[in-house]
């Protein structure tokens, strides 16, 4: 990347009269503040999930799956990355589901701020047979629990509440270790070993 040619796009004059549907600058800023997030302390930091924390999260998620009689339990991060998954049918598109769930929570937080709440701690979507309960966990996590008539909202909510403190502790470990980056303690540090050839080779077969 060459940063030598920086220019300020804000100094470029706009020729026409702005579209009347366009919110003005201050209005956009106000909206952005109203719908924005607090800094979760992870801005600019890679999220690194090591096997030890993954095992702990999986154990907690498995327990929740069992005790809540759920169909699946997913822990995702607020950017929509699936962190762990317990249960769920074959062929479930986990990437899309995690992304949509995170988008859903983010949009709902915008709504919360507009009525003076920092965020909603949980949300519930009720279907004919299948339902989804989502709950904020720690600074970066969202627990997504899908269940059907074998369980109930009350049971799911109770079990989620019971597992949340332990889950938050593990997520905090993940955050703290992520901030330290990849270090000599890692069995394998893949990124530092990537060569230009590796990158070029991705395009030979990938598409």
């Amino acid at each position: 990347m060459d940063d030598g040619g920086r220019r300020d796009i804000h100094s470029v004059p706009v020729l026409r009269v702005p579209d009347p549907n366009v919110a003005d600058h201050d209005e956009r800023r106000r909206m952005a503040r109203a719908t924005g997030h607090e800094d979760d302390g992870m801005q600019g930091t890679d999220l690194i999930l090591r096997e030890e924390e993954h095992r702990k999260i999986s154990r907690l998620a498995d327990r929740l799956l069992r005790e809540a009689n759920a169909e699946f339990v997913a822990l995702i991060d607020r950017n929509g990355q699936p962190i762990s998954w317990s249960g769920g049918k074959e062929g479930l598109d986990k990437t899309a589901l995690a992304s949509l769930a995170a988008g859903n929570v983010a949009a709902t937080e915008g709504l919360a701020r507009m009525i003076g709440e920092q965020r909603f701690l949980s949300m519930y979507h009720e279907g004919d047979r299948d339902h989804v309960y989502m709950s904020a966990v720690g600074e970066i996590g969202i627990l997504v629990v899908a269940f059907n008539e074998r369980s109930s909202l009350g049971l799911v909510r109770l079990r989620v509440r019971q597992v949340t403190p332990d889950m938050e502790d593990v997520i905090q470990e993940v955050i703290e270790k992520s901030k330290r980056g990849i270090d000599a303690g890692d069995a394998f540090a893949p990124l530092g070993e990537i060569t230009d050839d590796d990158i070029d080779n991705l395009f030979k077969d990938g598409f």
Binding site: I9, H54, G103, D183, D198, G206, F207
Partner: protein
């Protein structure tokens, strides 16, 4: 914010296609989806209105293969270009590891391009991402239209940091993969640089 998962041996990066309304962001993703091998792509998720305008975002997961035993995955997002979806755009930019700015080459969209680029810089800043150092490419789309401005004129305004520039006709795929590859390469190079710095500490 790349996600490095040692348990599943995956590295996932988020790339965002940004630009004014109807500039061709979704068309870029649709072309990539149509041309990618089934093993390389996930489902293309589009949250669109009845008029096929992007409502919240489009998402295309891509699996580019392995490096040193780690699966390299990219999640391509588009933002809704229409002005009034500003809050959605900010949410989607959060955690981005790279941005492709898709400009509409038509002279009638000159102002919209500038507004959108300003908007991008603001949203990146509000999300704690440095526009000047984040992986970034500029795509000049709709080069086939008679109303397209000369490349030099667009670059003079929209190329603000000596980033790679690609002329594109997204409807026929011209320039689409060049844009993606350039962005992926920058993102992986930045990951490598970051890992090297981290390991040295």
């Amino acid at each position: 914010m790349p996600f490095i998962n040692y348990a599943s041996r995956e590295i996932t990066c988020k790339l965002v296609y940004y630009g004014p309304g109807l500039c061709g962001k979704t068309t870029n993703l649709q072309w990539i989806y149509a041309q990618s091998s089934p093993e390389a792509k996930g489902k293309l998720v589009s949250l669109a209105t009845e008029a096929e305008r992007t409502l919240f975002f489009d998402l295309l997961p891509l699996n580019l293969g392995q490096i040193r035993g780690f699966n390299i995955r990219f999640q391509l997002y588009t933002v809704p270009g229409q002005i009034f979806y500003d809050a959605s755009r900010k949410l989607i930019v959060k955690g981005a590891d790279g941005v492709a700015f898709v400009a509409d080459s038509q002279s009638a969209r000159y102002d919209a391009n500038i507004e959108s680029l300003r908007n991008l810089q603001e949203h990146l800043k509000e999300n704690g991402i440095d526009f000047w150092t984040t992986p970034y490419v500029l795509q000049l789309n709709k080069r086939d239209l008679p109303t397209a401005m000369p490349r030099e004129d667009l670059e003079a305004v929209l190329r603000v940091r000596n980033e790679p520039v690609f002329e594109a006709i997204a409807t026929t795929g011209v320039g689409v993969f060049d844009t993606l590859k350039a962005l992926v390469k920058q993102s992986l190079a930045r990951l490598r640089a970051g890992a090297g710095a981290g390991a040295a500490v």
